[in-house]
């Protein structure tokens, strides 16, 4: 067994507002209670379990995909295994080095050159400087950045960053590799090499835990898939089967637990799901910047109504833009529909976006509008495809919330009076 998880649980306390005694006073009060050995007040309804009673074991060589809606506990699980956070109960055990690739750029210092970053990462994995230097050529070669090894990372493109991060992680001789979403980005050629490397290491007993919203990538890579929901195992097994069932549930399930996050159904209609599609209409998990993508709001109309859709695109907790249909669209009859909005190529930036969708319905003969909301219904990463080293060499490291391509022009101006 390369990894055994028994009854693992993680409890978080939701932030208290200062009104009900948060902040320094509550802490002092808790401290006094502890000194006086008073029992803690039994309330604490604000606790919630990000993960609970999770039990599973993973064989060596497995590439385990972890899927589930936002807040299902996927990231919490990886964070516990990476020892960034402690579990509240249960245990996880295994053997060998665990290397995590949880966030692009974590553990890298943008002011240092690739070489120094490799040494620092090695130190974080308990590998000595001399051993790190031995591995350096192989790491740089796999990442295809030999020529930039002395440049500080802040001049790197996100593609180069990703290649370096992956190359460092895989070269630390992990027995377990934890990857959160980032394997799904980067150019396809590099993705292919990553997967080859992962498979190759899998034969030598490397176990990979791979969290992604990109179902296509999950099915391509994983040998087994774990579907988490509300901190518990919903299903584990064959990738196609689990992914298929998961997608079905996302699409059809009217989730009552989400009602506090916005009303998703009325007697006229119900939002069934929000997806990201490519031009062919197939669902994708990450948006290539060079292509048009579509956000689809799937809904069911119970009556003959007119509908108007809107999406809010958020990033870094800011509203990037709201796009709203110009007018109501009449539906011919009740049934399942999909509203699609095209997001043109060369508009998004290579960051992660969250989408909230809303659907306003209007029933003929009734003046009232009903508005349905699905907050944070979709989250996706936009990435630069075919990112060759040459093309990205001079790309500035700064990224805005959008990176639109505009028309530029140069014109000769005749001076006045000439």
């Amino acid at each position: 067994m390369s990894l055994t998880i028994e009854n693992l649980g993680k409890r978080y306390y939701l932030e208290r507002s200062s009104e009900d005694g948060g902040g320094i006073r509550a802490t002092l009060r808790a401290f006094r209670d502890r000194l006086l050995r008073r029992a803690a007040p039994a309330e604490d309804a604000r606790e919630f379990w990000a993960l609970r009673n999770l039990t599973l074991s993973v064989d060596p060589g497995t590439i385990l995909g972890i899927i589930g809606p936002n807040g299902a506990g996927k990231t919490t699980l990886l964070k516990i295994l990476a020892r960034v956070t402690l579990p509240t109960e249960g245990r996880a055990s295994g053997s060998g080095r665990v290397v995590s690739l949880l966030e692009l750029g974590a553990g890298f210092d943008a002011d240092l050159a690739a070489r120094d970053n490799v040494i620092m990462n090695a130190a974080m994995n308990g590998i000595s400087r001399s051993e790190a230097l031995d591995r350096l050529p192989g790491i740089l070669e796999f990442a295809e950045i030999e020529r930039f090894s002395d440049a500080p990372l802040k001049h790197y493109s996100s593609g180069m960053y990703l290649r370096l991060a992956f190359s460092v992680a895989i070269n630390m001789d992990p027995r377990i590799l934890l990857a959160d979403e980032i394997l799904a980005v980067g150019d396809l050629a590099f993705q292919e090499r990553c997967l080859q490397k992962v498979e190759e290491s899998g034969r030598n007993g490397l176990t990979v835990l791979f969290v992604s919203h990109d179902m296509e990538a999950i099915m391509r890579v994983c040998t087994k898939v774990l579907w988490l929901d509300k901190g518990q195992v919903q299903k584990i097994g064959d990738p196609e089967e689990v992914v298929g069932e998961y997608q079905e549930s996302v699409w059809s399930e009217l989730d009552p637990a989400r009602s506090e996050r916005g009303r998703q159904s009325s007697r006229f209609a119900a939002i069934r799901g929000v997806k990201l599609l490519n031009a062919d209409g197939s669902e994708i998990g990450a948006a290539p910047l060079e292509q048009d993508v579509f956000v689809a709001i799937g809904f069911e109309a119970f009556k003959t109504v007119s509908v108007k859709g809107a999406i809010d695109l958020n990033a870094h907790r800011q509203l990037v833009f709201r796009s709203q249909d110009e007018d109501f669209r009449e539906l011919p009859h009740p049934g399942l529909y999909e509203l699609r909005v095209r997001i043109p190529a060369h508009l998004l930036s290579d960051i992660t976006y969250q989408v909230s969708a809303s659907l306003t319905t209007l029933r003929e003969g009734q003046g009232r509008h009903y508005r349905l909301n699905a907050y944070d219904a979709l989250s996706f990463l936009a990435y630069r495809q075919n990112q060759g080293v040459e093309a990205t060499k001079r790309r500035p490291a700064k990224t805005g919330l959008l990176a639109p391509r505009f028309d530029w022009d140069v014109k000769e101006v005749t001076p006045v009076g000439a």
């Binding site: 978080y12 902040g23 320094i24 802490t27 516990i80 295994l81 990476a82 020892r83 960034v84 956070t85 402690l86 579990p87 509240t88 109960e89 249960g90 245990r91 996880a92 055990s93 295994g94 053997s95 060998g96 080095r97 665990v98 290397v99 995590s100 949880l102 966030e103 974590a106 553990g107 210092d109 002011d111 620092m120 130190a123 974080m124 994995n125 308990g126 590998i127 000595s128 400087r129 027995r175």
Partner: protein, 292 residues
């Protein structure tokens, strides 16, 4: 992460690990710190580089920042108020006191901010978190070396101009190094509490900065302990930093007396507070990183 870094379970392979709600014991903690020791260097260098990153007069500030307050301070206290200085030129006396006091002061402030400043890394990667406050001392050490350079420079200047040499040469320096270590350890002892609290309450740093001003006046930095009536000296010596500063000046300038008993009691206080600090830190770091 590193297999060796994780508590080995009783059975199974030598590199087996297990993750449980409870933290590993003290022995394991020390072993883990040792395994990750190389990170200390990286954090320390990173901190120092960050001090004057982006300023165009980097090196200039490094010397100017400590020097100007000393010049003004020695003018006010030494020349205007004529504070006695045990027969040593006041500027040199003040500089020596300040060097070790500032080592304490800066260390404490940087340690207090350290967890907060590394929050991004702490939330994403695992390493023994004690490395963060410990490495934060590096910035204060840079200042300290600059002070030392100023002290030696001043002593040479005085020697050239008056022919008098004030610095003690010899084994006394070892005592000075010991006193500097005490200053760092005192700062860490308190900092282990404050750096955890700082992640939650931003007031901690300001409160601390405020009280450090008072604390300095309770410490014989701008005045020699010989100016305090002998029957009241024990009050001053209740403050561990008083004996640290006096010891430092005694070993460096050969003035005053080595405060043996107060020094021993200061060591005791720092050990107790420090041990409690390590315990507090280890018990609360996980929760505070979760809350970040």
């Amino acid at each position: 992460m590193a297999p060796e870094a994780v508590r080995a379970s009783a059975a199974g392979a030598p590199d087996a690990w297990s993750i449980e709600p409870a933290r590993a014991g003290a022995v394991e903690m020390v072993r883990e710190l040792w395994r990750y020791r190389r990170l200390l260097w990286f954090f320390a260098i990173e901190g120092i580089q960050g001090m004057y990153a982006g300023t165009s007069l980097g090196i200039f500030w490094l010397f100017a920042r400590p020097l100007f307050p000393i010049l003004i301070g020695s003018f006010v206290f030494g020349s205007l108020l004529e504070v006695p200085s045990d027969g040593v030129p006041y500027f040199l006396f003040f500089l020596s006191g300040m060097s070790v006091w500032m080592l304490f002061d800066r260390s404490l402030l940087w340690v207090t901010r350290s967890m907060d400043q590394q929050r991004n890394l702490l939330k994403k990667l695992y390493f023994p978190r004690l490395l963060v406050p410990i490495s934060a001392v590096s910035r204060a050490l840079v200042y300290f070396f600059i002070y030392m350079a100023l002290i030696i420079g001043t002593a040479i200047y005085i020697f050239v101009n008056t022919g008098r040499w004030y610095l003690a040469v010899g084994p006394g320096w070892l005592v000075a190094i010991g006193a500097s270590l005490m200053a760092i350890l005192s700062a860490l002892a308190i900092g282990l509490y404050t750096c955890v609290l700082q992640t939650k309450y931003k007031d901690v740093r300001f409160g601390l900065r405020y009280s450090m001003g008072f604390w300095m006046y309770l410490t014989p930095v701008i005045y020699p302990i010989s100016q305090v009536p002998p029957n009241l000296r024990w009050v001053i010596y209740l403050n561990p930093m008083a004996s640290v500063v006096e010891t430092f000046k005694w070993s460096l300038l050969g003035v005053g007396q080595l405060p043996v008993v107060p020094l021993l009691s200061a060591m005791l206080v720092v050990t107790i507070v420090g041990a409690g600090g390590v315990r507090y830190f280890l018990n609360s770091e996980a929760a505070s990183v979760d809350d970040m």
